[in-house]
Amino acid sequence: MNRRNLLKVLGLSAVGVATVPLWMDGWTSDDLPADTTGLDEDQKLVLAAMVDTYIPSGEIPGAKELEVDHFILAMVGGCFQKETQEEFLTGFNGLHQSSTEAYGSSFDQLSTQQRVELLIKLEATEKDPDKTINFVPFIKDLTISGYMSSKYIMENHLGYEFVPGRFNGSFPVEKSVYRNA
């Protein structure tokens, strides 16, 4: 049974989506490879705050609820070169410095408004050609790819079907999930 049908059975309205516990999706971050990045606990809070700022919670779960921060740690640990992993770690120091200079406290302690402002500013200014990554845009890209490839979003909002059993070459856009085009 898919989540939507389950919601109907439970008599929940669409508004209730965000309050339905995620265990109903059957995917947890425990399925990801273990974190090998060496990020400390405080920095993990900052990472969680970053993904939460980029894609906040609402009627539809945000990136933090869908554990995208765990996905980022898995990807950085497994799929990127050592230099990038080091720049990823030092990036947290840079963000901390920017955050305390601008607002006097750590990124995860800022208000939502302050976090948004800071990320917009840093995204526009971080353009170091000598680095393999620019920290803030890098986290943003991974947040988006982790969110968009999550079970919840793929199944409930992107029309993902593993076993479509059909191909229609002339399909009207108005009937597609991309009808907003």
Binding site: Y54, C79, I144, S170, Y178, N180, A181
Partner: protein, 570 residues
Amino acid sequence: MANFNIDAKTRQSYDAIVIGSGISGGWAAKELTEKGLKTLVLERGKNVEHIKDYPTTHLRPWEMKYRGRLPLDVIEENPIVSKCYAFKDDAEHFFVKDKEHPYVQEKPFDWIRGYQVGGKSLLWARQVQRWSDFDFEGPARDGFAVDWPIRYKDLAPWYSYVEKFAGVSGNKDGLAELPDGEFLRPYEFTKVEQYFKEQVAQKYEDRHVIIARCAHLSEQKPIFTEQGRTQCQNRVVCQRGCPYGGYFSSNSSTIPWAQKTGNLTLQADSVVESLIYDEQKEKVTGVRVIDAKTKETTEYFADIIFVNAAAVNTNLLLLNSTSKRFPNGLGNDSGLLGKFMAFHNYRAKIQAEYDGFLDYTTDGNRPTSGYIPRFRNVRQQETNFLRGYAAGFGAHRSTISNTEGVGSTLKEKLLNPKLGPWRVGSHMMGETIPKETNFVNLSKTETDEWGMPLLNFSVDYDDNDEKMIADYFEQMTEMFESAGFTNIRTSDTHQAPGLDIHEMGGVRMGRDPKTSLLNEWNQMHHAKNVFVTDGACMTSTATQNPSLTYMALTARAVDYAVKEMKKGNL
């Protein structure tokens, strides 16, 4: 008693031995066992049982370790196979890793291999276009290689025979250059593919856009039910192995079929070291096998040997099968074994966009694409290069990913994806000319873990290939422009030979033992009970994906071999 059994080798005899269990070896096994021959199939890799050994087949993207990406250490350890489009997290276990099986590259060659029961039939792109006489007559007409000893009429009934069993989806297009087959219903064009087909038909009498014939069960028939296969479910994750048997592989089709006869012995982890030539009997009597794990050697004997080790490995095996009679490799009196290797030129691509039909998109998935059969030099020589190219063609709606902003504005954009223009693309599949200077041979100094000499590649493109690429860009650009496609970009990947995974030749068919290794029945001129029916037998390459032709040649050769055996001629 200690030395009583000096020869510790177990002697075992069969009616037939098949070396290799890939797409052609699987067919040899099916045909031989169905005809009642006790058959031993030797596979150098591990066993892969249909469904049971497809570990990733049910994984959704979020269940893959890195959402389908390969970890960096795997990519760094495998610079060659990582270039292959299908070498991803969901199928990497079906590919040979670079370090496990090294080879020598006198000239760069990306050798992509699948060592397991089923071979590369698990991984193939499942495209099955027939050859026509315009292809078989190529070498004779244009004066390269040697004349094929067969023509389309010789193979046509065998194409039909294998298509009915394997299951081929396609449309009856009525084209002389790409003969129709025994088709299950075709997959649909997308809106813009259909439009392009019409545009091309209006402008060019001799150019056609069709839906590519593919080895997928687009509909169910009793023969597929009997094999335990069901209709393709359009998942398009074929390289993982299909639990429905929706596409043809040795694992889903020919091997279980052969097993049901009770005549098959399938032995994995068995590296064939050489074919044994008996100087007294003046014939090949069997094969010498190294156990891949224990390295122990065993000899097996049979009346008929089918060599289906995959094109290049078949060359290696025959070159390594030396005897007093054949000091340069089995059946190699001509000295041509390993020479006249060829492949398909897959370097060229073209992309564009189209802004029409924006009310339409596609729904579901399609396991094939559009196809443009060869239109250059088909009926006569008309360009400054020999032969020509076929082309893949596809058109799909793009999605626009707007990732601007932070917070709820970003979230809103991500959750409401928008469709962009149609993305149109094509890739070239060029015929290359087999030449004596394109060859494989054995390293004189280096051996692998099993004591087999390493194979050396000296295969390259030539001027004809470069001219063909230029012509493909020119012709396709013109066709795209006249259809109103925009933002046309051509690209030459400059990839080494090999990545097309269509390496062919080295043990070519021909009429004359002085200039070929095999006769018109894929039978070795000088070792009559040995048959080679994989890519090694190919005299020329044409432009079509070759697997279907290997299947048809195999079924035809088995039919001949068994008749000859019964007549006492082998």
